[in-house]
Amino acid sequence: MGTAESTVRDDDNRLFRGHSHILDDITHLRSKKIGKIERVADVVIWPGCHGDVVGISTTEHSVLKRYQFDFCSICDPNKLRMIARRLTTANENNRKSSGSIPLKRQELLKWHGWGYKDTKVIVTQRGKLFITSNRYPLVKISQVSLKVREWIQQVWGIDLYEVENIPEPPENPDISNFPDPFLESEFLDGLLTLQIVYSTDGEDRFFRSHGQAMSDIMNARRYQIARLPDLVVWPNSHEDVVKIVDLSNKCNIVIIPFGGGTNVTSAVTCNPNEIRMIVSLDTSQMNQILWLDKRNLTVCVQSGITGRDLEEQLFREGFTTGHDPDSLEFSSVGGWVSTRASGMKKNRYGNIEDLVVHIRFVTAVGVLEKESRGPRISCGIDFNQIILGSEGTLGVITEVCLKVRPLPQLQVYASFVFPDFETGVKFTHDVAMKNIQPASLRLMDNMQFRMGLIMKEEQTFIGEIVDKLKLTALRAIANINEDEMSFAVAVFEGFKDEVAINKVKIEKLVVKYGGVSAGAKNGERGYLLTSTIGYMRDICLNLGMLSDSFETSVPWDRVLQLCKNVKSVVAEESKEKGLKHLSVCCRVTQVYDTGACVYFYFAFNAAGVADALRVYEQIESRARDEAIACGGNISHHHGVGQKRRKWVPRQISPTAVGLYSAIKKTLDPNNVFAVQNIVLPAEITSSKL
């Protein structure tokens, strides 16, 4: 980078107003399109939370380092370069801990799918699956058994032994596909004055234009995203956010808050008809733990901290929040609050609404927060409930105070098999009736269980024989048939004796329902697989399978019917649409006293299917109709976003839609937070409240 000859046009004032251009150019350089570049610099300015700080990028890897810096001096490019050189050598230990998500996400994360760039599932010859990183403590190489291969061939029409060199999207997106941003100079001036880092680089904007729903990824891969945000801004603190929101409100700019980017509801999708400038407010640099209060068991964090960062730091102190969603590595605390997230171990620790003690919420008309850190408050309506689930439509969550627990003395995995899904559900229901839920309890149906077998370590000859013996024993002794059985996994947490007692109770109940214990190892594998499900989705996409999941929650008396009906509707609808190879499976992922959360996974082979994505969406929509008709909710924890708005009025009543609209109009009179989540815009306009 240092070798690049900067051809800075001095007459272009915007260069020095917009750091974005600098970032732009770094991208350009990297992609070796120097011919196109008009403005080049090698400095990135980066305000920090303790006053003016600038980060400078000096290497090709764009490692960003942060230093105290006088802002005014960047006006002269030569001086700038000099400073940069000096600063590169300066020490860097006066800094706060940096979050795991860099400013430029694309350096760490895939643009065309889920997760880390370095982590992929590769299928090599004769059905060997190979994971390219050590991030997940899973077997690195697994072998698809002949039996699984045959079965997959049957349901998906794909021979896993014959799929070497699956075509994959290029590592970096084609930058020629990104439209120029629409920029409001008054706003840019304002940002400069505020010294807040931003970018108008196409890749940055592209990265924040979509979530992780399969349709989002498919559209991103085809560059079919109708509108990108015009600018990405990285505030560092609550104060930064207040200033940005004020500025936006003044300049009539749209803000779309962006946390981990793991939403699956199209919750950050820009309105293609928006005529105003759209700013994506990326909270990833607001990633600090502000304080940890060990006596009161609370932690206060900036909203952009990811679950993994938070848990790692708490772990060092001997604590945990216990909130453990599958997206833990990437999703942010702010995102959890704004979508009403749920964690795997909610039985022990609670869902996000149970964990939240205090929230700071920046709205267009002021900051909404309670003056209370006490354990509970009875003071009229709890307005935290307006923030929880607001999905970025009312303001930005900047700081959250959460409950923490000391780390459990013991964590034990377990797994069980049941003769079929029905008995499995009856078992989980009984667990709820007896109120003996382990920290987590999940139940997979037969198909899901078998899907899990794709990722199984290579069998030795002896291992295979042992497996066969086990299966025979199952069939003979427990009357459990491989093609019918369901599979449950559980996590127990707590003190040793507590776990032991709970485990005994559960095991007794398992026996009552004709189930058999399948060991701790299988249980652990079951949970690990969940965190790689995003990667599996991507390999499916590469193989030409469209696949995604959707979830709902439902009272106990309807769980089985809902599962059966949704599967049947998907099958029927697929048949109508002429799909030949498909799979639909489900699992119960949360066990409540009053009901359960059910996840569905639907995949079909898109080969030869015209407009497959639309077909997928139609079938999914029909499935959700059915889930709702069977007494299910619109969503257990994914939220509404822009994908599920049409079901909202019926779910919450038109009065509630009116109430929401009134809140929206009050808190955001200029519609700064114009991401159209939750309720269709027409319903807000037409509401009379």
């Binding site: 019917q561 049947s568 509707v569 099958a571 109709d625 019926r650």
Partner: protein
């Protein structure tokens, strides 16, 4: 009519008028629903897709012992034993709730007694389908059918369509119900085509027949009491039983939406009870969809034809008994022609009801589902639609057309003018083309003459052709044992009335098989005729008359209000094409009769027995003194008496008017038109006239009757002479 406005306005009570208005408003909505539900079939139906399943390569023994690997109704459904089903019903939350919370506490009956009673009910109800019995029975049936039928023809295209639409959702078969044979036929067909055998809802009458009840149970029938009024426990048990069959989806469920065998061969107005119960799992979100398959079973000759005829005239039906069955076995000596079975386009209940489903899901499942008014309207649509689909997919035998011609001849021509084969063939041919233009599929495989002769041959016990080609009706009643007057259900008719009545009603049975085709055109052409006679002929005026007749006959035919306008327009078009109405009109709002007056006459004549019967019912009711009431039975008796008098004095010559079914429908129709008021006193239903309205209705019906009354009248004695008396009749 004069100054009283349009007949339809006069004839209706305000409440009914409102209901009808609602139904009329719903009509376009129904069309909308139907468009989504049922794509119209690809092409016209043809006989060539029907295959005789008795005509198979393997011998019966090989056939019944074939490996049984049926196509499943829903994947993964597991077949339950009878005991398991019973257990599932007993342990269902709804049943628990009904007994523990409702019945026991309300009526202060000990729970144990209720549980015992429930168990007994379920044992009495439950089916015990067992393949060995089915196979054995299938073998016997094959032999019997080969003997009496010349073929059981199944539309194989419709089987393919059926196969394609099952696999995911519970299936309900809804066959038309004309004969006891229907029970066994469906299972027989399913066995032949390797489709999971249906579980069949049957009336309790069979259970008492020694051996037969058991046999039917083993072949998959379950038994429901005919009436159980307010017995909440029975109701709960029965609905839970049906619903567990639906939700488990192991077998198709078969029931007859008409509720009972139609003695008249016309479709009966659909019954909604069982259908509503069966749809409940869908409406409450327990199943995602239900596939309803209307099925038409058309018989060339109905096994029970003579029995029905007697029954309609009021001679009591013998109680079902095994000995009776054996007596009836001499049925086996006769030939009954062909059976045609057509599975119509499967209906997705979800597409029919989708927009209505769900809001009351906050209620837990163990609470009984209250059917909302919207749902109830939709259920009525569905039921009517099912019956209409059955009708549309009928295969009409040539004999039915011949019956129309013969009846017309007997009624209108002087007695010495006998119908000869040549005339019959000619008239049947023209009627056939008319019927075909109304969408009928006529069973005519050869050239018409040969086919007609074959068809007549099947019915040689009713119609004979002499050597010189004269076609005559036989007196089948001659040998019947004298009827004990005390046992008569209605008025005790004279012997000579019965002698003419029985064959005429039998003949009408076959006329009725065609009426679903002709009823709307007949009503329209009669309306046009009267409107013209009154000097109008304006379309609106015709429509008002059409509406009146349609309302009047809505208990007689499947004439749901929602199809009113559509049927009207279609009939006009068809009649214009046939030349019954004048096509070359300058004024599109005005209708006039065309050149085809013969067909017009035949069509109008078809309404005669109905109008005559209804008219008499009107007169009977108007004679009830003010403030007095009559029971239905009394009304029927005196109407029959009145009709018999008319028949004897040659003022009427169609004996079908005596039909108790017809007269019951008349009373019901008058009730729903507000001309007769229905009161419940001490649990008895009693009727009283609503004088003003009744007078108006009587007047209008009388006017219509005038128009269709035959030109040439014959007394009953004369008519009797038309019939050849037979020394020895078979039944």
């Amino acid at each position: 009519m004069g100054s009283n406005g349009s007949p339809s306005q006069i004839a209706e009570g305000t409440e009914q008028a409102e209901d009808r208005q609602k139904a009329a408003n719903a009509a376009p909505q129904l069309q909308e629903v139907l468009r989504h539900t049922c794509p119209s079939p690809a092409g016209p139906r043809v006989l060539s897709t029907f295959r005789n399943i008795l005509d198979r390569d393997s011998c019966d023994l090989v056939w019944v012992t074939k490996e049984w690997r049926p196509q499943q109704v829903t994947l993964h459904a597991r077949t339950r034993t009878t005991a398991k089903i019973r257990q599932d019903v007993i342990s269902s939350p709804k049943m628990q709730h009904t007994i523990e919370q409702q019945l026991s506490s309300q009526n202060e009956v000990p729970k144990e007694a209720l549980w015992r009673e429930l168990n007994d009910i379920l044992i009495e109800m439950g089916h015990t389908q067992t393949m060995p019995v089915v196979r054995w029975f299938g073998y016997v049936l094959s032999k019997i059918m080969r003997k009496i039928y010349s073929g059981v023809f199944v539309n194989e295209e419709s089987i393919a369509r059926l196969r394609a639409s099952i696999g995911n959702n519970p299936v309900i078969f809804m066959p038309s119900h004309r004969s006891y044979a229907d029970f066994l036929l469906m299972s027989y067909v399913c066995f032949h085509y390797n489709i999971m055998l249906p579980v069949i809802a049957a009336g309790m009458d069979f259970v008492s027949m020694w051996g037969v009840g058991r046999l039917l149970r083993d072949s998959g029938a379950f038994f429901i009491r005919r009436s159980f009024g307010n017995d909440k426990l029975y109701w709960a048990a029965f609905s839970e039983y049906v619903q567990t069959l639906i939700t488990a989806g192991e077998n198709p469920i078969e029931f007859f939406v008409e509720g009972t065998r139609s003695r008249t061969a016309k479709s009966l107005c659909p019954k909604l009870g069982l259908l509503s119960v069966a749809l409940e799992p869908y409406l409450t979100g327990q199943v995602s969809d239900i596939v309803v398959v209307p099925i038409n079973i058309s018989y060339d000759r109905t096994l029970e034809e003579t029995l029905y005829s007697y029954e309609l005239l009021g001679v009591p039906k013998p109680k079902e008994s095994t000995s009776g069955l054996f007596k009836a076995l001499n049925v086996l000596d006769e030939q009954y022609g062909r059976i045609h079975i057509d599975f119509t386009e499967p209906i997705s209940v979800n597409k029919f009801f989708g927009d209505l489903r769900s809001p009351k899901l906050m209620r837990p499942l163990h609470l009984p589902h209250q059917i909302t008014p919207d749902e109830s309207t939709r259920i009525i649509w569905l039921a009517n639609y099912v019956v209409r689909q059955q009708q549309k997919n009928a295969v009409i035998s040539l004999f039915s057309l011949a019956a129309v011609v013969i009846t017309h001849h007997v009624l209108t021509k002087p007695r010495n003018q006998l119908l000869n084969m040549h005339q019959l063939t000619r008239q049947v041919a023209s009627l056939k083309s008319a019927a075909e233009s109304f969408g009928a599929l006529i069973d005519c495989r050869d050239n018409l003459e040969v086919s007609l002769q074959d068809a007549l041959h099947i019915h040689k016990s009713l119609i004979v052709t002499s050597k010189d080609g004269q076609v005559q009706v036989k007196n089948v009643a001659a040998a019947q044992a004298p009827v004990d007057p005390a046992k008569m259900k209605g008025h005790s008719l004279q012997d000579k009335t019965l002698q003419v009545g029985v064959p005429m009603v039998m003949l009408q049975h076959y006329v009725n098989q065609t009426l679903h085709l002709f009823i709307c055109p007949a009503i329209v052409s009669l309306s046009v005729q009267q409107s013209i006679n009154q000097g109008s002929g304006m379309k609106a005026n015709v429509f008002a008359k059409y509406q009146f007749l349609r309302t009047l006959l809505s208990h007689e035919f499947i004439l749901h209000k929602a199809w009113e306008t559509m049927d009207f327009e279609q009939s006009i078009q068809q009649l214009q094409k046939l030349g019954v109405l004048d096509e070359s009109l300058h004024d599109s709002m005005k209708l006039s009769l065309g050149s085809n007056s013969h067909l017009q006459q035949i069509l109008c004549q078809l309404l005669l027995p109905f109008l005559a019967g209804y008219s008499s019912a009107c007169s009977t009711m108007s004679e009830v003194p003010a403030g007095k009431t009559v029971s239905l039975n009394e009304a029927l008796k005196s109407t029959q008496a009145r009709l018999e008098k008319l028949l004897l004095s040659a003022q009427l010559n169609h004996h079908y008017s005596l039909s108790l079914d017809l007269l019951t429908a008349a009373v019901n129709s008058l009730t729903s038109m507000g001309a007769v008021i229905k009161n419940k006193e001490n649990g008895k239903v009693l009727y009283s006239p609503n004088s003003n309205r009744l007078r108006q209705v009587t007047q209008i019906v009388g006017d219509f009757l005038q128009l269709v009354a035959p030109i040439c009248r014959k007394s009953q004695d004369e008519q009797a002479r038309l019939l050849i008396t037979r020394a020895k009749a078979r039944l």
